[in-house]
Every structure is written in structure tokens, then in C-alpha cells.
Amino acid sequence: MTARVQVNRLWKICFGKGLVATQEDFGNQGSLPSHPELLDYLAIRFIDLGWDMKALLKEIMLSATYRQSSKAGKDAEEHDPENNYYAHYPAHRLSAEMIRDQALAASGLLVRKIGGPSVYPYQPDGIWEALATRNATKYQQQSGDSLYRRSLYTIWKRSSPPPAMLNFDAPDRYYCVVSRQKTSTPLQSLVLMNDPQFIEAARILGEQMMRKEDLGEAIQLAFSTLFGRRPRPEELDNITTLWHSLYASFSDEASNSAEILQIGESKTASDLDKDTLTAYAMVASTLMNYDEFVVKR
């Protein structure tokens, strides 16, 4: 049972849903496994592998099922609308932590250090102060590496949890939550559009794009780091036009767009033209608001 439960959770990490849909409940109120033999096979494999999660994840991820495209076949809607038989990969939204970590990783800001005390990354001013009247009332934002650790290490104050994570359905940690909600809301859009963490990551990625030979290659780079694929022709056209329009707007004398580059603690190389870089940064930011940045397909 232990192995089945754990294997089911790893499966859910990979596919966004478990072989047993109620991953928190294997009892008589829970659902039955969609693939009981597979569940047992994986459970036994897991034990044989010495309960090695990484090894099992690797095995799942190398499977043909995992590597499928999420594009549904023509008759999928008719025969298996819920995709219970995994005829295509089940697209699903990433978790709060994965989304932030991905922005950090794609830009190269991510600090991969393991362990240690909690860290205090960017958080809008006054969040703790607004609620607390005694004890830890002040949020002391840290600097340097602490800003770029994996979200797992972000300080969690239960009476005032990190708001950006809550918007992406991170539970408030009062109850044990095994299956998180997966919602999609305008507040999430606002986080991806305006949270300094994402603007900074976009700037750093923009800097790397700018160092490429030309705009085309820059866009290729962004697509491969953010989505792990090449842009489709219409996407390439779209982004190319966007870059030119943004550049035209930012290089206008009246524009103070270079201020965008001041967001975030990390420094930008001084040899780069500011308007050009800002245009790249905002292209990268636009792509961080694209479907595939938050949805695994």
C-alpha cells in the first residue's frame, strides 16, 4: 500500500493526475485506479529499485506515455473525453513552486543550493505588517542568493503566506492538502505580469537574448529555455513584430522605459543599449505569460 500510494503521487507529479484520482484517499470513499495493473507494476518496481524516487521518476519520464504530445487525436473527444486511457499526454498547469522556479531556472538566476534555513525573497511591502500586531511583524527581505533559491525554501508564515504562491493554489498549510486545486485567474495573470521576481527573470533572459547574433536566434533561445521547443513560424512572426514595436516605443525620447531595468537586485551589464535590452526583457516577459510557461503540454 505504501508503495502504491507513493508511486501514485509520483505519477501525479508527472501527469497532473494520479492513476488513482483521489490520491489522498485509497479507502472505500476513494476512486478506483484507472490502471490497476500498472499501479501494481510500478509499486513493485519502486520497491525493487530500493524506493529510489529519482530512478522511478526517470523510468516514468522515459516511457512512451509520458513522452506523448498532449494534442488530442480527432476521435479522442468522442471515445475518451476524460483521457482516461492516456491516448495523449494530459496537459495540466504547473504548481506555484514550479512556475517560480522555472522562471528562475530559465533565466539562470536559480541558486541550486540544497538545505538550510528558510529564505525571504521579494514580497510586496507591508504584507506582514498589515496583519500582525505582535511577534514577527516585519518582513525582512534578504538579498543575494536568498532571492533566487527554489520556492521550497521560501519562508512560510501561516498567518500571512507568500501571496504570489497562494494565487497559484499553494495551500495555506493549515490543513494537510494532498491534491491541490488548479485554478486559473486574473490574479495569476497579474503576478506573471508584474511580480518583480518575474520581471527580473525576464530582464536576465532578455540580456542573454540580446547577446545572440540576431533577433531570430534570440527568439529561438527564449523558446528553447522557456518551453523546450522551437517557435512555430507564426509565433516567430508575432514575437518579431512585438520586439520591433516595443523597441520603437521604448526608444521614444519621452519614454522612461529604462526604469524597468532597475527592477530586481541583480545587475545588468552596462555595455548593453538600454532601449534594446528593455525590448528584449519585455518580449521575455510576454513569453512568461504564455500558456506553455504555466501549462505542461
Binding site: K71, P186, L190, V191, N194, T286
Partner: protein, 475 residues
Amino acid sequence: MNDLNMNCMSDALNRRAFLKNSLLGLGGLAFSSMAGAKVDPNELPHFAAKAKRIIYLFQSGAPSQMELFDYKPVLKERFGQELPDSVRGGQRVTGMTSNQRSFPLAMGDFTFEKYGQSGSWVSNLLPYHQKIVDQLCFIKSMHTEAINHDPAVTFVQTGSQQAGRPSMGSWMSYGLGSANENLPTFCVLLSRSTDFDQPLYAKLWGNGFLPSRHQGVMFRSGHEPVLYLQDPEGLDRSARRLMLDHLASLHESQYQHWQDPEILNRVTQYEMAFRMQTSVPETLQTDKEPEYIYGLYGEDARKPGTYAHNCLLARKLIENGVRFVQLYHQGWDTHGNLPNQIKLLAKDTDQASSGLLQDLQQRGLLEDTLVIWGGEFGRGCYSQGKLTPDNYGRDHHPRCFTIWMAGAGINKGITIGKTDDFSYNIVEDPVHVHDFQATVMHLMGIDHERFTFKYQGRRFRLTDVHGHVVSQVLA
């Protein structure tokens, strides 16, 4: 093999279906609400709603009922005498006074009179309430199970003392949905006043196990009322528009490629986010409010962050289609120096609460807006700490407290429930917190027993397994 599997599965499914059906058959109607079909929020409202919106003026810290509404002349007559054992009846008292040897009755120099046609008692601390009593339905027999602020506020707002359940506003958002496209459904306004403010917790407006779009959105004073609303410094609106236009056409191409309707959903969300960026600050702008408004709400309403300003914002929010506004005053925890503190607290809240009601009425909004005023429990009739001729404190008291409701569907100008001569025990028509919650839901067109969400193997409701609609409240 596959076929065999399928058979096992369908057998098992049939067995479950059979068990379920026979339960229904045997238990008849009684079972149908427990084992019955999944709740579909689309079925709401269950019946015609009296109220479309709620403004909940939460007086956090617990206002003393005896100085404000629950007139008890005995307390003054027997000032300094011990609380009779017959009244306390051996009940435990709450933590901060449980070590006291003496429980002297206390009451400050406040006077009470009956006001309005309804003849409701109001003290001289609340001159503006005196004018609106005929609009109000007082419940003087509220009681709760919790004795400390955190669990008690959590209990009133989520139906459980243990944290983690959805807040009342989240339930409403989940059940009734949004009534506008540009503002959150459930908004939270905090008013900080004094040094003795009680802390608040994000869980009080948390969505619990409901989807996160039902969480209360805390509005802040200042240039960014909703978190992450502000575009980065240096990015103008036309550039943002440009980015979003390109993003929309990217999403369009993405949809053509994947045929997943979720992608189109994202386009809508970005449009909403863009609109919110302007509609939220516009809604919260008070500088165009006419002068008479400040006559209604008081001069404090000019200062962002005050209770009065928040009352004004509450009206603006519901005017623009917000369904639930949760507004807090945080300063009512008067363990000591009560006679002086309560004057400040009354001054902070009296005129604005009353002004809000009048403003709503003038705009015709009171007909379908429910306004609630109240805290998490009451305060004790005996002094906490040393009683002096002109000073005392009061400890927490869960056995009775006073709240009022007004507006949509409310029986006006009445008082429900009665406490004993010491405002210690309830002698008539007790109203439990779950009864109050059931009544609020009823006013919103929801049968609190049928409105559930399945989580961790059982169906949860705001009222747990309790609660009766208080019919006297209903007009």
C-alpha cells in the same frame, strides 16, 4: 487481460452504485442530503434570494455589549459587588480572569435610552446609532464556543475554530459566482487604529479547500490596492496593451495548434487582469465624492486606512458589483482601561457604520444589500483586574454578545433574544454562531444544509452539521 480488468472495474463500480442506491432506497429522503448527488453551484440559489451582496462590518477584538446595546442597570446599582454565584453557576471563566479571587461587577458612567419607534436601547457612546435603530435587527443572544480571538473569529467566519476551512465570503463566491467582471468577488478591507489592535490572519478570508479564485482579495491603501496590480515602473499602458495584444494572438495560434479550450480561457483572464488594473484604482478613488458624503461618514472618511474610509470604500465596491465585503475594525479588545478606550472605539466606528447604512439607503442599495455589525464574542460583566471608581477592564465572554443586521430581507427595528440582568447568561432565544451563518446564507438564497463541498472524503458545509435559520430575523 484488458477485458478482464475492465470487468473487475465495472463489477466493483456496480457494487458501489448498488450500495449507494440501496442506501438511498432504505434511508429515503433523510439520506439524500448526505449521500446525495454532487452539489452543483449552478443550481444556486436554492430559492429567491433577499440579499445580493453583503457588507460585514467585523468588530474584531470583541466589543463589550453592556456599554453599547445590552442595557443592564444592575451593573451600576451593584457596582463593586461580587457577581452572584447563582448567575455564574459554577461555570468556568475565561483565561485572563480565571485566577481572580474576586469578580466585582463594573459599569462606567454611560447612560442608556430607548430610541426610535422600535424603542431600542442604545448608550450615549453611539449617538449616530441612535438615529438608525429602526433600520436594525439586534440579536442580543448570540453565543459562541470559542473563548479566544483567533479561534473565535475563525469560527464566525469559517464555521470551525480550527483554521483551514473556507471563509463565508469564499463560500458565497463559490456558490453564487461573480456579479462583475472587473473586480474580485470577495474583498477584504482592514482598518488599523490604535496600539491595542488585534492581529488578523489571511486564513480569515482564505478559500480553504475551495478553488483559489474564491479567496478574499485584501485591498490595501496606497498606490497598489491589489497586489501586483501596478505595471512595472517605466512600462506605459500602450506598451502593456501591445504586449497583451501579441499575447492574445499567440494564444490564438496556440489554440489552433492544441485545440484546448483552456487556452482561450487564458485570453479572457488577461483581459480581465488588464481591466482590473484600471477599474480597481478607479473604484477606490474617493476624491470625487461629494462633500455631503463626509457629513454622513465623518471626517475620518477622508483618511485612507481608517474604518470610516473603508466603510465608504465598501459602498463603492458593492455599488460596482462586489458580492461580499469583509471589513475589519481591529481594536475592540478592552481588557483594561475600558471606559476610556471604548469612547475612542465608538468614535472610530459609530458615525461611519450609521453613515454607510444611510448612504446605502439613499442609493436604493439597502434593499438588496445585507449589512452585518458584530464581533467574535462578548465581554464579562465583572472587572478584569483592579476595579477603581472610574476604571476597569473586561475579559472575554462567549456566553452572550450583541450583533446587528440590517438591509435586505431583515426584520427592521426589532430585538431578538434576551440576557439576564448581568448580561451573563442568555434567558431567551439563544442564537448560535451556526444559526447566524445559516440565516445569512438563507438571505442569500442558499439552503445551508444543501450547500456542500466534498473534500477529504466528506462533504463540508459552512455550518458543519449544525445551524437553524433564525426566522425572527427575516422580514
